[in-house]
Each structure stands twice: as structure tokens, then as C-alpha cells.
């Protein structure tokens, strides 16, 4: 078990290294650097000044040297004026070093956000906190509802309850966030006026009024999927021999479901819930943009729209980490919950 986890963590680190290298390559394509230089200098700057801005801020160094600097295995250098030999900070707004030193991700320095004029850490971690709050409420709504739907549907396969709930869950998986968000806003905000169509005020403090729409919008897409998986698992468990034995012993249907079936049927949904995180990440981006909630997704869109290199790298690192670590947790948890599975 221990060597399994160690091997998986090794793979995760390798994957993260490869992916950040790919992201680094893509954000450093020539058109993207041009876009960055134009947004960082005054309006109508001539081409040669754009070029000198790029050279000055170190964007014209060798690709691998710069990746190494970001990673923290090559020292970062301040800007040196060739005429006077005086050194200045690369970006004054985030304490860049004035003398060469190793300062990358490995040292805990995520770099400098050119869009928000601050360090990436100062921007990214509060945003992650805000998104964590959103995720918590989404899971708190999504998991109980979807498990309940799945169990009710899978309890008696082919019954009318099963058919109705199955079609309802198919309908919910066919409704992406940008569709359900619009429909919910139209119904609850424009028409009934019960809820707020914007979650911008949620940064100051969340209330039922401003936070419900983002949460249900994000939850609805996942509910259908998890409910269908729970149903399938429940249907399978209900056909097992030990359920028949329990019924023949004379136990009531409800006690068979609760005591015998439920625990075995909930192993598979656990994996599914864990693997929902990559989907939730995409959903978070859409929902946060739609409801103007200042979280991780909003930061990612701003970073990508302005080609904010370090911030975008930070965002990809975080999201890839979340995706891979939830996969690991789901594998380990599956083996833990189901003693019949042994990890080699």
C-alpha cells in the first residue's frame, strides 16, 4: 500500500512537471508575449519599445532558463542597466529580488501577477479560499440529494419511481451550468425575485439571498451523474444473494435496504464523487464568471484573458494538483472501503 502511494505521488509530480512545461510553452508563444507587452506598456507604444520591455523584463532569455527560474532551479536575476551597472527589481510591486537568488515554486515563490500588480500567492490563495467555500456548499447540497435519488431509484428497478427519477437525472446531466444558470436566474431572480442574480456581494459575506443560485447551478449538473451511478450500484447490490437471504429470513424491505444494501451500494458513488472534481473545476469557472463571484475560476479567466504568465501557471498547477490528488484519494479510498480489492 505504501509503495503504491509513493509510486502514484511520483507519477503526479512527473505529470505536474510535464503539464506546467506545456502551459509555459503555450503562454510564451510569440503572439502571447506581444499581447502581454502591449497590455503592460502605455498605449500606442512603438514596436521597438515593446521589444525592449520584453528584453528588460527577462522575457527574451532562453526558454528553459526561464522555466528553471519559475521552478526555482535557476537563479532569478534583477534587471541590470548595461550603462550604469545598477540593478533594479524586475517588478517593483511584488518584492522581486535585487540580487540573483533561487526563488521559484520549489522555494514557495509563485511569481508575480502582471495583471493584478501583486504576488501570485496574494491573489491566488484568497481566491482559492472563496472557491473552497463555494465547493463546500455545492458538495453539501449535491451529495445527499444525489445519493437519495440514486437509492430511491435503484431500490426497485423498473418501478415508476425508478423511471421518473432516471429521466430526471438524465435531464440534469444534459443541462450544463451556463444553461441551468440562465434558466434559474430567469425563474428565481427576474421572475420571482426571490434570489439575487449576482454573487458579487458574497465576498463580503454569504447569505441565502446571494449564494443560492451559484450553488444550485453548480450542483445540478453533478447531481444527475452521481445519482445514475448510485442507482446502477444499488441495482447491482439488490440482485445479490445476501439480499435475497435477508429477505427470506423475513426482514422487512426497509431494514434490508438500510442495513444490508446501503453500505455496499455506497462504495462506487464515493469514487464517482471524487472524480467529479475535474468537472466541478470547469463548472466553477463558468459559474463564477456568470455570477461575478471573485474566486479561483474568475482569477483563471482574468489570468488567461490578459496572458498573466505566472498567475496562469499558478492556476494550472493548483487545478492539476486538485485533479490528480482526488484521483489518488478515490483509488486509495476505494481499496479502503472495499476489503475485496487489494492494491498492488
Amino acid at each position: 500500500m505504501f509503495s503504491f502511494i509513493a509510486r502514484r505521488i511520483g507519477t503526479i509530480l512527473l505529470t505536474m512537471l510535464c503539464l506546467t512545461l506545456v502551459v509555459f510553452f503555450l503562454v510564451n508563444l510569440e503572439p502571447n508575449l506581444k499581447k502581454l507587452a502591449i497590455s503592460q506598456t502605455e498605449m500606442h507604444t512603438p514596436a521597438d519599445q515593446l521589444e525592449s520591455w520584453l528584453v528588460n523584463h527577462g522575457y527574451r532569455q532562453n526558454f528553459f532558463v526561464r522555466y528553471g527560474q519559475w521552478l526555482g532551479v535557476v537563479p532569478k536575476h534583477p534587471i541590470t542597466d548595461p550603462a550604469t551597472g545598477k540593478t533594479t527589481q524586475r517588478f517593483s510591486f511584488c518584492n522581486d529580488p535585487t540580487e540573483p537568488k533561487f526563488s521559484g515554486v520549489l522555494q514557495g515563490d509563485f511569481g508575480c501577477s502582471t495583471k493584478f500588480k501583486t504576488t501570485v500567492a496574494a491573489k491566488l490563495f484568497p481566491a482559492l479560499g472563496a472557491t473552497g467555500l463555494l465547493m463546500f456548499w455545492v458538495l453539501a447540497v449535491m451529495v445527499p440529494i444525489s445519493l437519495l435519488i440514486g437509492i430511491l431509484a435503484g431500490m426497485r428497478e423498473g418501478s415508476r419511481t425508478d423511471r421518473t427519477l432516471s429521466v430526471a437525472s438524465i435531464a440534469s446531466t444534459a443541462t450544463p451550468e451556463y444553461v441551468s444558470g440562465v434558466i434559474f436566474t430567469v425563474i428565481f431572480a427576474s421572475w420571482l425575485g426571490w434570489l439575487n442574480g449576482s454573487a458579487a456581494s458574497a465576498s463580503q459575506g454569504i447569505t441565502f439571498y446571494n449564494f443560492t443560485l451559484p450553488v444550485i447551478t453548480l450542483a445540478i449538473y453533478g447531481i444527475g451523474y452521481i445519482a445514475r451511478m448510485t442507482r446502477a450500484s444499488m441495482v447491482e447490490v439488490m440482485t445479490q444473494q445476501y439480499i435475497r437471504t435477508a429477505r427470506l429470513k423475513g426482514l422487512s424491505f426497509s431494514s434490508v435496504v438500510i442495513k444490508h444494501a446501503l453500505r455496499n451500494a455506497l462504495i462506487a458513488p464515493f469514487t464517482v464523487i471524487m472524480l467529479q472534481f475535474p468537472w466541478l473545476l470547469t463548472g466553477v469557472v463558468i459559474v463564477e464568471v456568470m455570477f461575478r463571484y471573485q474566486g479561483f475560476g474568475y482569477t483563471l479567466v482574468e489570468a488567461a484573458g490578459n496572458n498573466d504568465i505566472d498567475l496562469l501557471l499558478g492556476c494550472s498547477l493548483v487545478s492539476v494538483f486538485i485533479v490528480l490528488i482526488t484521483q489518488l484519494i478515490s483509488d486509495v479510498g476505494y481499496a479502503f472501503l472495499n476489503p475485496r480489492i487489494r492494491v498492488q
Binding site: L19, V186, I286, V289, A304
Partner: protein, 385 residues
């Protein structure tokens, strides 16, 4: 000048009337399918359940809407008639006396016509991109599952690499106006579009290599047709000027194929690993068939059930992805009538007008729902056997 309106009842009747070519085509196809369902195999079995009928009905409805779009829609999806700006559903356009059935949007375009034309974009890109993703996934997944070992480790690692990327980040990196200036989209298109040609060449070669009369004809057709489409799509140098794709559409296409082929790869790999332990594969190995013959002519046909179901679900998922791209304004032109872009435009103005938002959202939802119902019913039918 006061805009004149028709009543809500007339709007419903008018919309139903505008779809007349779709109804005619639907009655013909559904009627024929019902009559001959015993002889139609898996497709015929779909008509045994309500869910299946609903799925086929919705999918065919959008298919025919896309085909007859120019007949159904009363206006040009890009035409702006300034008096019709933000008009409510049922407004009569003064010049032609035609009706804006679902009202006008903020640029005074007909919401109904835009929704109808939007179906064309979705129904061309989504199935085609899914088809290419299937080709890539199958061509790589079969050897990974069959041989195992180093090939499997390498390909699985690459697939997991792509899958670990949140889709939205991938799109923000791959579908930007800037990337069109670099050779990356063309290189990726060149790579992905090669897979169908390779697939069909190997397919025919393994089957007919002892019958040159058939082999040369089939290989020739594959290479000529494949090469023709290939030059048209990748280099935009089709000598006949028929196959053509806009650079930004190519970019979207490539990004969508890239994002969904690892999923297909995983499924095909899993199915192959399962099927290769069967007796008929062992029999083929004993006969001395080549590995690629076994993969393409023994394993693949027996994996078709789950693959068809997955393809249905995947077209729906691709539709959702296209909508996401449109919603974030990536790739597609800002005035493009596709559903995602329409939802983006309308959702910003929800406080003042809600009517431009509803038609594209309901269209997208119903199409994906139709595909999901179809997949569900197909899965149920294949489990019966």
C-alpha cells in the same frame, strides 16, 4: 412608430408552421422506421421503449432543422433591422410583414432565425469532431490494450496528461486569436486528420491483402478521398475548392478533438483488454492472424456496443463543450449564431430582457437531452442481449 405584435397563441402556431419541412421529414422517417422496425436491428429496437422514441425524435428534429435551416428561418441570422431592437416575442417586422417569433436581441436580429441557424453549426462540428476523436482513440487504444507493456504505459501516461487538464484551461490556451499565427493548430490538425486515413488503410490491408483486386481499389479510394479532404482541411488547398474550413473553426475543431480523444482511448483500451482474453481471439491467434487483423476485425466489432453508446454521449458532451467555448467567446466569431455565443450575449442582459436567452438555452438542453436519452435506450437494448 409603434411596433405591432401578434398574440401568444399565434406565436406558437406560427413557430409550429415554420417548422413544416421538419414535421414532414419526421413523419416520413419515423413512420418508415415504425413499419420496418423488425428488420432494422439495433435501430429498430429503439422504437420499443418510450425513452428510445423520445431520443430518436429529438435528435432527428434537430438534424432536420439543421438541414432545412434556410427554409425554416424567416430572416437572415446576421441581418439587423434597427426598429426591431429588443422587441418582445411576436413583433411584426414592418417592411416584410414577417414576424420575429421569439423577439429581437440587442443588435435587432431575429432570435428565432439565429436559434435555427445555430443548430447547423452545432450539428456539423459536434458529430464530426466526435468522429475524429473516435478514430484517434480507437487507433491508439487498440494497440495499447492489445500489446500492453511499454506502448501502453507511454500512451496511457499521455492520455492521463491531457485528462488532468481542466477542459476550460485547455481551451483558454489552445483557442486564442494569437495561436492562429503559430503553426500549432495546423500541426495538430495535420496529426489528427492523419488517423482516419491510417485507420482505413490498415483496416483494408489486413482484410484483403491476399485479394489484390479488391485491396487496390479500396486503398486507392481511401487515399484519394482522404488525401483530398486532408489537403482541404489542413492546408486549405483543395484543388476543387469544395472542402474548406475557416481557420478559427479549424482551431475549435482541433481543440475539441484533442480534449475528447483521451476519453475514447481509455474506453477502447479497457474494452480491448477485456475482449482479448476471449476464446475467439485465441482461435484467431492460433490461425496465425496478424495482430492488427485481430484488433480490427475480431476485437473492434465486438466492442461496438459500448462504443456506440459512448459516441452518443460524447456528441452531447461535445455540444456542451462547444457551448462553453461560445459562452467564453473563444474561437467562434462574435456574431456567430451558435447557441453558446447567443447564451453569452443574452445572459449579460438578463436583468432587462429575458426572451433572447431562453431559445438557445432550451435548444441546447433539448438536443443534449435527446442524445442522452438515445444513449440510455441503446445501452438498455444492448444489455438485453
Amino acid at each position: 412608430m409603434q411596433t405591432e405584435y401578434i398574440s401568444a397563441f399565434d406565436v406558437v402556431l406560427g413557430v409550429l408552421w415554420r417548422f413544416w419541412p421538419v414535421w414532414v421529414a419526421l413523419i416520413l422517417v419515423m413512420g418508415a422506421s415504425f413499419t420496418y422496425k423488425k428488420r432494422l436491428g439495433l435501430y429498430g429496437q429503439l422504437f420499443d421503449s418510450g425513452v428510445g422514441i423520445a431520443g430518436v425524435f429529438i435528435c432527428l428534429f434537430w438534424l432536420f432543422t439543421a438541414i432545412f435551416a434556410s427554409t425554416i428561418s424567416p430572416f437572415d441570422p446576421l441581418a439587423q433591422v434597427s426598429v426591431m431592437k429588443d422587441t418582445l416575442p411576436g413583433a411584426i417586422e414592418p417592411a416584410s410583414k414577417l414576424v420575429y417569433y421569439f423577439g429581437g436581441d440587442k443588435l435587432a436580429r431575429d432570435v428565432f432565425s439565429r436559434m435555427v441557424y445555430g443548430s447547423q453549426i452545432v450539428l456539423i462540428i459536434a458529430p464530426a469532431a466526435t468522429g475524429f476523436a473516435l478514430m484517434v482513440g480507437i487507433t491508439l487504444g487498440l494497440p495499447a490494450g492489445y500489446y500492453g507493456g511499454k506502448i501502453d504505459t507511454l500512451l496511457s501516461f499521455l492520455a492521463n496528461l491531457v485528462l488532468a487538464f481542466p477542459v476550460i484551461l485547455l481551451f483558454y490556451l489552445l483557442v486564442t486569436p494569437g495561436i492562429m499565427d503559430t503553426p500549432i493548430p495546423y500541426a495538430m490538425a495535420g496529426l489528427f486528420f492523419l488517423f482516419p486515413i491510417i485507420f482505413f488503410c490498415v483496416l483494408f490491408w489486413t482484410r484483403y491483402k491476399n485479394r489484390p483486386d479488391r485491396l487496390y481499389i479500396l486503398l486507392g479510394i481511401t487515399l484519394v478521398v482522404g488525401g483530398w479532404i486532408y489537403t482541404g482541411l489542413v492546408f486549405d488547398k483543395d484543388p476543387l475548392k469544395i472542402v474548406h474550413i475557416d481557420p478559427n473553426q479549424l482551431n475549435i475543431f482541433v481543440a475539441v478533438v484533442f480534449a475528447s480523444s483521451p476519453g475514447v482511448f481509455r474506453i477502447v483500451r479497457g474494452l480491448t483488454m477485456d475482449i482479448k482474453t476471449r476464446d475467439y481471439v485465441a482461435a484467431a491467434q492460433t490461425r496465425g492472424e496478424s495482430p492488427w487483423y485481430i484488433m480490427l476485425w475480431e476485437i473492434l466489432p465486438n466492442a461496438r456496443g459500448p462504443l456506440i453508446v459512448d459516441a452518443c454521449l460524447r456528441i452531447g458532451y461535445t455540444t456542451i463543450l462547444l457551448g462553453t467555448l461560445g459562452y467564453f467567446g473563444l474561437g467562434l466569431a462574435p456574431e456567430s449564431p451558435d447557441w453558446g455565443t447567443a447564451i453569452k450575449d443574452a445572459s449579460r442582459l438578463l436583468r432587462s430582457f429575458i426572451h433572447p436567452a431562453l431559445p438557445p438555452t432550451i435548444a441546447l438542453m433539448s438536443f443534449v437531452l435527446g442524445l442522452n436519452l438515445l444513449a440510455d435506450s441503446l445501452r438498455e437494448q444492448s444489455m438485453k442481449d
